[in-house]
């Protein structure tokens, strides 16, 4: 199956007065129709910039963009703005984190929805656009949809506003939806409603979804594949089951070890990743994760790892440890060893090299 979207060696750099920010640095990913890709990472990992760039929303902001993002064979990066505008909001749509600042406070909900529809259906009458808007609000589970078209955004709760954003994104039946932290600002019961809604609509409309999030729980529930990003790069990429059952990158281990869960014993200590994410202006040499990695070797400070297929596994990883070392380390971590214990047992080092 040819992928619906294929991002190839995407690089996005921003020039600032402090220097060049390497926001996205050689990201390649692909997604098939009807599938969900989870793009996971912390603040500044480049996950949102990747999404925005695919939508053409980083253009003209001092951004230097290299690489390709082929949607249905057409490159979104080099495409002219007019052509891109016919795709954006139509075949490719995006929903953002903050539903309040994404809706215009002065205009009624119905007008904003209708605008999204009529932009891509110029022959549609007002009445048709209004019907379609009401239909969409109803689809996303807002009761009394027709009457609510005349409401202003401030009259809606956070969950309803996010539903409205989803209705607006889906009004032209996109084939690809990019959802950037769609539930981060919402309460957990509302989050459950929205995630359920996205996956139901995905089944009904057959669209592909890129779910950008920092929440591994959301990814585990929704995604078919996961790409873990760190400092502008994908460090691990593979099927969701593999990433959670047999992760290969020390950063992924760190993420999994630092979240409290409802399903593990309460007294199990959290194992945070030491330090903090690096500056994207002056990135660490070699492997960008090396200053925070408990398993670092002297050579890791010089050699820059590539994202390479893992022998005998479906995924890819960018790590300089050997696959045997990584398997042995993960086996110990999974059985409750601390990173220090795992390092001592597998690499024979008492302290990080």
């Amino acid at each position: 199956m040819t992928p619906l979207l294929e991002v190839d060696q995407l690089k996005v750099e921003f020039s600032t007065k402090d220097g060049i920010v390497h926001a996205v640095d050689g990201v390649s990913l692909h997604i098939e129709q009807g599938k969900t890709l989870g793009l996971v990472g912390e603040s500044g990992s480049g996950k949102s910039v990747t999404g925005l760039t695919v939508m053409g929303l980083t253009r003209g902001r001092g951004a230097d963009i290299v690489g390709e993002a082929r949607f249905d064979g057409r490159d979104l990066v080099s495409m002219g703005s007019d052509e891109l505008r016919t795709l954006r909001g139509n075949d490719v749509a995006m929903i953002f984190q903050d539903p309040l600042s994404s809706l215009h406070p002065y205009y009624k909900i119905g007008r904003q929805l209708a605008e999204a529809y009529r932009t891509h259906h110029p022959k549609a009458s007002r009445a048709e656009a209004r019907d379609r808007s009401a239909e969409m609000l109803d689809l996303v589970g807002i009761s009394d949809a027709r009457a609510r078209l005349d409401a202003y955004p401030h009259e809606f709760s956070g969950g309803m506003r996010q539903r409205t954003m989803i209705a607006m994104a889906l009004i032209n039946e996109p084939r690809l939806l990019i959802a950037d932290e769609p539930t981060t600002a919402l309460d957990v019961t509302v989050q459950a409603q929205i995630l359920e809604l996205i996956s139901r609509l995905q089944d009904e409309l057959g669209m592909a979804v890129i779910m950008i999030t920092h929440d591994l729980g959301v990814v585990a529930e929704l995604a078919d594949d996961v790409a873990v990003m760190y400092a502008g790069r994908i460090v691990e990429y593979g099927p969701t089951e593999t990433i959670f059952a047999a992760p290969q990158h020390p950063y992924t281990w760190g993420l999994l070890g630092s979240i409290p869960r409802l399903t593990t014993p309460r007294d199990e200590p959290l194992l945070p990743i030491p330090g903090r994410p690096p500056s994207l202006i002056n990135r660490p040499s070699g492997c960008h994760f090396h200053p925070r990695c408990p398993y670092v070797q002297p050579s890791h400070r010089e050699i820059d790892p590539m994202l390479e297929p893992i022998p005998g596994e479906p995924g890819k990883v960018a790590c300089l440890l050997t696959v045997e070392e990584r398997r042995a380390l993960w086996a110990r971590l999974r059985d409750g060893a601390t990173p220090d214990e795992a390092r001592a047992a597998v690499l024979g080092q008492v302290a990080p090299a």
């Binding site: 459950a192 630092s258 979240i259 869960r261 903090r276």
Partner: protein
């Protein structure tokens, strides 16, 4: 570390914020029932969790306990003394013992002050450690204790990352050796890997300093990790209160069950095995809360003529949980929904 005598006791705590209309002459036309009859005791040395969604009253409760807001009615006692209406120098003395950690590490630190003077502020307010060298030494000790480099004494907040700023907030809160710390969403603004650092720091400090913590969060996994006992709030009331293990092992209130069921599980196999229970609709407005049981408009176990007429009291249910519900969840229902860890 439970079983101690109560350090803080709140009884029938009520806070209503008036809603006013009119341009020049403002007259009250209603009230937001932010906290509406909440009672609980926090034992010495424990971590007491308050969970709930936006608008449930958990942050207002925190502000009432720390006396940042005045109560509408009800009482707060601290070490057996009624502190509900304390003022002047006695309130100032109370504030030495009760400190707060805030959610947003960006807006809770004065950007024009150095980190050293931010952490020294409590000493200045209370006239402690007057000697300059002495105060600086103590502040640097504190910085070291919370994992900040003491040499960064003269830096400004903007030079620190979010996690480091939250450490500054923690250092300021423990500076006066308080008895109680009220932490209002202390990690929700932080990245996952940093969250764990701050949670571990709070647990370490609690063990070292014998702190009592009221821990407020919306993230149920974080609360489970941190707290000995947990109260679940909905629309200004406590709907369930239990030991952490009991609450998470067998939630009795249908709202608690729905909350737990809504938490995404970072494990694809478990996530797919689970039967998600999705609450319909939104939380009703706290200015006009539903009659009797406030959850009845969204509850799967709602019985007309009972739940909307008779207000359930917070009473012991099977397994020892206190829950305010006429029809608490049974073990079979909990198992069927695969809500909890064991399932």
């Amino acid at each position: 570390m439970t079983g101690g005598d109560p350090l803080v006791e709140v009884t029938d705590l009520v806070k209503h914020f008036p809603i006013k209309r009119g341009v020049i002459i403002q007259r009250p036309v209603g009230a937001v029932h932010a906290v509406d009859g909440v009672s609980f005791a926090v034992r010495r040395g424990e971590t007491f969790g308050l969970v709930g969604e936006t608008g449930c009253g958990k942050s207002t409760t925190a502000r009432l306990i720390t006396r940042l807001l005045d109560v509408t009615s009800g009482t707060i006692s601290f070490e057996g003394e009624d502190v509900t209406t304390l003022g002047g120098s006695r309130l100032k003395a109370l504030r030495r013992d009760v400190q707060m950690i805030f959610q947003d590490p960006y807006s809770s630190l004065n950007p024009r002050k150095t980190v050293g003077s931010i952490i020294a502020e409590p000493f200045a307010i209370h006239g402690l450690l007057e000697g300059k060298g002495e105060r600086k030494r103590r502040v640097q000790d504190l910085m070291d204790r919370v994992g900040l480099n003491p040499e960064h004494y003269n830096r400004y907040p903007h030079e620190f990352s979010g996690g480091q700023r939250q450490r500054i907030g923690v250092a300021r809160a423990v500076a006066l050796d308080p008895k109680l710390i009220v932490a209002d969403e202390p990690v929700s603004a932080l990245d996952v890997s940093i969250q764990a650092q701050i949670l571990n720091l709070l647990r370490d400090l609690q063990a070292d300093l014998g702190l009592t913590i009221v821990f407020i969060a919306h993230d149920l996994s974080v609360v489970r990790h941190m707290c000995d006992r947990v109260a679940v709030m909905y629309l200004g009331k406590i709907v369930e209160l239990a030991d952490g293990a009991d609450l998470y092992g067998h939630p009795r209130h249908p709202y608690t069950g729905a909350l737990m069921s809504a938490v995404p599980v970072p494990d694809p196999t478990l996530a797919r095995a689970r039967r998600r229970q999705i609450l319909g609709g939104d939380v009703p407005s706290p200015s006009n809360p539903p009659r009797a049981c406030r959850f009845h408009t969204r509850c799967a176990k709602f019985v007309a003529g009972h739940c909307d007429v008779d207000e359930p009291l917070l009473e012991p249910k099977e397994g020892g949980n206190l829950a305010a519900c006429h029809y608490p969840l049974s073990d079979e229902e909990i198992a069927a929904a695969r809500i909890t860890a064991a399932a």
